[in-house]
């Protein structure tokens, strides 16, 4: 059992857990504790120190787009992202609810709405008070600066006019041939300009001081606004929810349309001539409408969890396309030096090209193949697939996937070529002795023995692909994590910065998991016990 566990941990690349297992079995406790200290406690402490430093340093660096968010603010942002997702899911559910559940839910919503009303008035009151308090405190601080500014401004401009007047007056007194006097005069004008500049600087500094005070955050107001926003957002959400449960509800709409249909059918029976034709037409139309209504769903906006799912789908699509190209070419390169020589210029030429270049090209090419995405068979087919259908795969998605493929296939290709080229000569000799055909040689000898390196290449490719994808989505505005970041940057709201930080962790975490998965695969196909890279 113990060795099985250790073996499993080793394959999964989670070697830092090995000492824990050994300790549980009571094997050399002292040594295991040491190991635990080094591989688990130290990283944890390092992370804690990082978070602590972050929390301490972040508030000191102020940008014009707001402060660098502290860990706490980022956590808040993460929960607000989640709340948004939750609420949208709620609205979607509400649209499809019917019967008793709908009524019960509606009652709950109405009750909560009525509870919110006094809370909202209170929050508005708080904001008003905080605003007033802020204004008085700012005015108090700014007042003396302003008076000083005005005083200095008046003083300076008086002094300036005086100096200018004196200079003008003296200009008339300059004797025509007195070079020294002229030079002295020039110096005086220079001094005047310098002085004026200095005075202006002084005023500017005062102004900057005033601006800084006005820009200063007022904690009471910030908190009051936050509370107000939360309540207002909840009210907005509940309002929409009650609409989705009330007259906007699908079941209710259907019932209403059915009632109309039935009424029409009854009148149709006694109608004659033109009227009968009109009615029949109306009935047919109404049926189509009922059909559409019964299939309709709430048009839900994209939320981060959905975007993550779509990004993952996109990266795997790209990864599969890339691997399907890279592995065969890599194998051929490894088998034949001539083929390798033929491919080298292409590999060398295309490998360093940035995703930013591939993407627009891919977009244009895909756009050329799919001129009318609404009616294209491929898009239609993808929209009806069970797990992928809801993701609304569009040309931008395909272009992003192709970009991922183009950027990530090189690692797999070169690794495959290397793997194939470095097969043990003895293996190949055995194949020759056994007179194995090309197919047998390929599938029994070449591929199996180069698998470890192929997987090492795939692992790098997936990592590169994940990195490239975010940029590709950002540029193509294909829904996904990249689009989320771009939207946040464009929003420029006070919490946008923090939301982008949330994405940093999300992307990092997913990248880590993907990497670990690839390590497991790599281990499973390896014969030797080479240690996995971390």
């Amino acid at each position: 059992m113990k060795y099985k566990l250790i073996k499993a941990i080793d394959v999964a690349g989670l070697t830092f857990l090995t000492p824990v297992v050994r300790l549980c079995y009571g094997e050399e406790p002292k040594k295991q504790l040491q190991e635990i200290g080094r591989f688990i406690v130290v990283p944890l402490i390092a992370f804690a120190v990082f978070v602590g430093l972050w929390g301490a340093i972040a508030p000191r660096h102020k940008t014009k787009s707001g402060e660098v968010p502290t860990p706490l603010v980022v956590w808040d942002a993460a929960s607000s992202i989640w709340r948004f997702h939750d609420r949208e899911a709620d609205k979607e559910d509400a649209y499809g609810l019917s019967g008793k559940t709908r009524e019960q839910k509606l009652a709950i919503v109405e009750k909560r709405l009525s509870q919110l009303e006094p809370l909202e008035t209170l929050a508005n009151q708080h904001v008003k008070e905080a605003n007033a308090a802020r204004t008085t405190s700012v005015e108090e601080l700014v007042g003396p600066i302003l008076t000083q500014y005005e005083k200095l401004d008046a003083e300076f401009s008086a002094a300036q006019t005086e100096r200018e007047a004196a200079l003008k007056r003296d200009a008339g007194l300059l004797a025509s041939a007195d070079r020294a006097a002229r030079e002295a005069y020039l110096q005086r004008v220079r001094d005047h300009a310098a002085k004026t500049e200095a005075e202006r600087e002084q005023l500017k500094e005062l102004k900057a001081e005033e601006t800084a005070i006005r820009a200063e955050k007022f904690p009471q107001l910030v908190n009051a606004l936050k509370a107000q926003t939360r309540i207002a957002e909840e009210r907005q959400y509940l309002g929409k929810l009650s609409e989705q449960l009330g007259h906007g509800n699908r079941t209710l709409k259907l019932d209403e349309q059915m009632a109309q249909l039935r009424a029409d059918q009854v009148t149709f029976l006694s109608a004659e001539g033109d009227a009968a034709f009109m009615l029949a037409q109306r009935i047919v139309r109404q049926e189509a409408r009922i059909q559409k209504t019964s299939e309709s769903t709430y048009a839900k906006p994209w939320t981060l969890p959905m975007q993550i799912y779509r990004s993952l789908a996109c990266v795997f699509a790209g990864f599969l396309i890339g691997s399907a190209i890279a592995i065969p070419i890599g194998v051929l390169c490894g088998l034949s030096k001539t083929f390798m020589a033929a491919m080298t210029p292409f590999i060398a030429l295309f490998k360093p090209v940035s995703p930013i270049v591939w993407l627009p090209i891919a977009l244009i090419i895909v756009g050329g193949f799919i001129p009318d995405p609404d009616k294209h068979w491929l898009i239609d087919f993808l929209a009806n697939l069970p797990l992928l259908g809801w993701m609304k795969i569009n040309p931008a998605f395909i272009a992003s996937a192709i970009t991922v493929a183009l950027c990530s296939l090189w690692a797999t290709m070169t690794n495959t070529a290397l793997g194939v080229a470095s097969i043990d000569k003895d293996h190949l000799n055995v194949a020759r002795v056994l007179r194995l055909g090309f197919k047998d040689r390929l599938f029994k000898i070449v591929i199996p023995s180069s698998l470890p390196l192929i997987f090492a290449g795939l692992r790098i490719s997936l990592g590169v692909g994940w990195m490239v994808l975010i940029a590709a989505e950002l540029l193509s505005s294909s829904e996904g994590i990249g689009k989320f970041v771009w939207d946040q940057f464009n929003n420029g709201a006070s919490d946008s910065f923090a939301k982008m930080m949330v994405v940093v962790f999300v992307v990092g975490l997913i990248g880590l998991v993907l990497d670990r998965i690839m390590i497991v695969f790599q281990r499973l196909v390896s014969f030797d016990d080479a240690a996995a890279a971390i």
Binding site: K100, T211, G248, F268, A280, A299, N394, S477, D487, N491
Partner: protein, 501 residues
């Protein structure tokens, strides 16, 4: 899920009925009339009873529920060709009609489920509408016109709905503002007199030119209102903003100030980075500059041209031809959204704007802070942190017959395209009229409005039924030049700077 399935079953069963009935009726004709009359009601009552049992309490609650629209005014239900739509928008407060029509259920009332998707810039937005990725979008007024005449991407795009009036501002960086103050004493006051012309900017431009540099300013798209307004403002003070020519599609020939394209949400960041020293953009990106303390809005486009047309709702002609009823339903919902946005109480205060600002501040819509969006949406504008002024008409979504697609608006944009050389050849006056009529479609608007009037949702007086599509001539411009849409050539020739025909 289960009750939903029941409904589906019920509806498919019902849908078979009329077919049977018709067959019955046809065969019945041959035999006797009495058979028909006797047979059908029996069938129907059975069917009705059946479907009654498959439906649960929900159907009963309909009749009791006061919210059920069946009991409200009779609705003209359109036979929609398409009921799930995707509309694009740019993160600006004037996308409000689309967002409000969605959030307040006006689209749902027409049986539409609409997804509203933020687009990164105007070019992508237009491309996505043309290639069918989007069904329609919040567009710059110049975009349908330019696309139709083939400046930039060529495609026949039409509009049957003007989304709003006004709503833009020109912001300059703090340092340019300081220099402007040095050149004009009047600007030093914390609340300087408006309108502020570009006269104080002229010496700065000339100083820069003397040192071999050009002042850089940002606008959002070559055929945007912002481009024309910024040019108008500069040219009114005798600053040449540059011309487009056949070979210069950047519009910088002879320029004293160079204009470049930056997407609206990127404006504050680009200004802060120092790549541009000023910009013309819609809200909330001017208020954002004030909130972040990186620039000073010097003027709004209300001062440049009082009640100028701003955004339109654009679709391709192809889409409109394929989905005429859906288009009508969309316009209906948008008119109602505009009406909701401009609703006032007895005292004349806008009552729904705070709620609108709250909705727009959601991250999937405009996403800026509520406080920033609220300023301009509720009729106020911060020119500096200490200079807040009431501007009740900063955004007009319904008043002044603003949602009507006026030909004269189209002609004005065409004159500006000619003035700055985007239209390279001189054109006769009739061409302006014809082109405007290809793009602006009041016929669709009127049809939608007529339905709303008969449903009791719109007042007869809210629509200019009898107009020829041209607004009254106006000289409400910053330089007082008279604009008459019937005389585009005369208008072109009345400007000092610009192409003349």
């Amino acid at each position: 899920m289960k009750p939903f399935l029941h409904h589906l079953l019920a509806s498919t069963r019902l849908s078979l009925l009329p077919v049977l009935l018709l067959i019955g009726a046809l065969s019945g004709c041959g035999s006797s009339d009495s058979g028909l009359v006797l047979d059908l009601p029996d069938d129907l009552s059975v069917a009705a009873a059946e479907s009654g049992t498959t439906e649960d309490a929900a159907s009963e609650s309909v009749t009791e529920s006061p919210e059920a629209p069946a009991t409200a005014a009779p609705k003209t239900l359109l036979n929609l060709e398409k009921d799930e739509l995707k509309f694009g928008f740019i993160k600006l407060t004037d996308c409000a009609p689309i967002v409000i029509a969605r959030e307040k259920g006006f689209f749902a009332d027409e049986g539409l489920q609409v997804e509203v998707i933020a687009q990164p810039n105007w070019k992508t937005l237009l491309d996505n509408v043309i290639n069918g990725e989007l069904d329609g979008a919040h567009m710059l007024s110049g975009q349908p016109i330019a696309a139709t005449i083939g400046f930039g991407t060529k495609a026949h795009v039409i509009t049957a709905f003007t989304m709003d009036l006004n709503g833009n501002g020109i912001t300059v960086s703090n340092s340019v503002w300081e220099q402007m103050q040095q050149h004009d004493e009047n600007l030093k006051s914390p609340t300087p007199k408006h309108p502020i012309t570009a006269d104080a900017l002229k010496p700065i431009v000339q100083e820069k030119l003397a040192s071999g540099e050009k002042l850089q300013m940002g606008m959002v798209f070559p055929v945007s209102t912002h481009n024309y307004e910024l040019r108008y403002w500069l040219a009114a003070a005798g600053i040449n903003p540059g011309f487009y020519t056949k070979t210069d599609i950047g519009g910088r020939t002879d320029a004293e100030v160079e204009l470049s394209v930056t997407p609206p949400p990127m404006m504050p960041a680009t200004l802060e980075a120092g790549n541009i020293q000023g910009y013309c953009v819609g809200e909330p990106w001017n208020q954002q500059a004030v909130a972040k303390g990186i620039g000073v809005p010097v003027t709004t486009n209300y001062d440049i041209w009082k009640n100028n047309p701003e955004k339109v709702f654009g679709v391709t002609k192809k889409w409109a031809d394929e989905n005429p009823n859906t288009h009508l339903a969309v316009v209906k919902a948008l008119i109602r959204a505009g009406q909701w946005l401009d609703e006032t109480n007895a005292a004349g205060d806008l009552i729904n704007r705070e709620e609108a600002a709250r909705i727009l501040s959601r991250p999937d819509y405009v996403g800026a802070d509520y406080d920033v969006i609220k300023n301009s949406m509720t009729g106020f504008f911060f020119f500096q942190k200490t200079d807040k002024r009431p501007m009740p008409d900063f955004n007009v979504f319904f008043k002044y017959h603003c949602t009507y697609p006026w030909y004269s608006d189209g002609v004005w944009f065409l004159t500006q395209m000619r003035r700055w050389g985007q239209i390279t050849e001189p054109k006769p006056a009739e061409w302006y009229d014809e082109t405007a009529k290809q793009v602006y479609r009041p016929d669709i608007y009127k049809q939608a409005a007529r339905m709303l009037v008969s449903e009791g949702l719109l007042a007869e007086s809210d629509v200019p039924w009898e107009t020829d599509g041209y607004k009254e001539p106006t000289s409400d411009f910053i330089d007082g030049v008279l604009y008459d849409g019937h005389d585009p050539i005369g208008y072109l020739n009345s400007h000092k700077i610009g192409n003349k025909d």
